[in-house]
Symmetry: C2
Subunit: 113 residues, 2 copies
């Protein structure tokens, strides 16, 4: 399972990575790879547009920096971003509990009422 779709929870995950401190896009991708044990390996075409989206939404703040002849765009959480992360954690709890319950085999049940 490599490029597993994060399906709507990508934003929350990016915010969670940034909670630990400011990071640039490439570093975020690597942090995700490391923290997931290689399970989550996002392509740049997923991560960069997502960061721009979060920036437009005011959940992260970005600034250019330079290191070793390489320009980096460093992102950090805003207050709204922190709030959004809290909300997302709650949403995820509810969502995952609901899906887990629905996916669990039910009693073979009465079919047509």
């Amino acid at each position: 399972m490599k490029a597993e779709a994060l399906k709507g929870h990508l934003d929350g995950i990016l915010l969670a990575v940034l909670e630990a401190g400011p990071r640039h896009g490439y570093a975020i991708m690597e942090a995700l790879r490391v923290r997931s044990g290689g399970q989550v390996d996002l392509p740049t075409g997923t991560v960069y547009p997502a960061l721009h989206r979060l920036e437009r939404a005011g959940l992260v703040r970005a600034s250019w920096s330079e290191a070793g002849g390489r320009r980096r765009r460093v992102y950090e959480l805003t207050t709204a971003g922190r709030r959004a992360l809290d909300t997302e954690r709650g949403t995820w709890q509810d969502f995952s509990a609901a899906v887990t319950a629905l996916l669990r085999p039910a009693s073979p049940a009465a079919s047509l009422p």
Copy 2:
């Protein structure tokens, strides 16, 4: 939390409902409402197209039936559908474990290496 997006796991959930026995679309929506305690309340514009998709994919088999002057399209799992449901359960386990881990607060961490 009402029309919560099932985000890519709708198909698996529909298959899980049908695992308990054949059902028609409307009954599936109701089963979902009941089994989720009202949390999951899908609009018809989500469920019917999804069922058609599953049928096209060969994961369910459909047939018309008549009850009380009402025509119903009754869906039941195929062998492929049963297999797909097993796969989806595994995928969900991995996926939810990964998201839960990534969403968990990390050590405040070194930022820019």
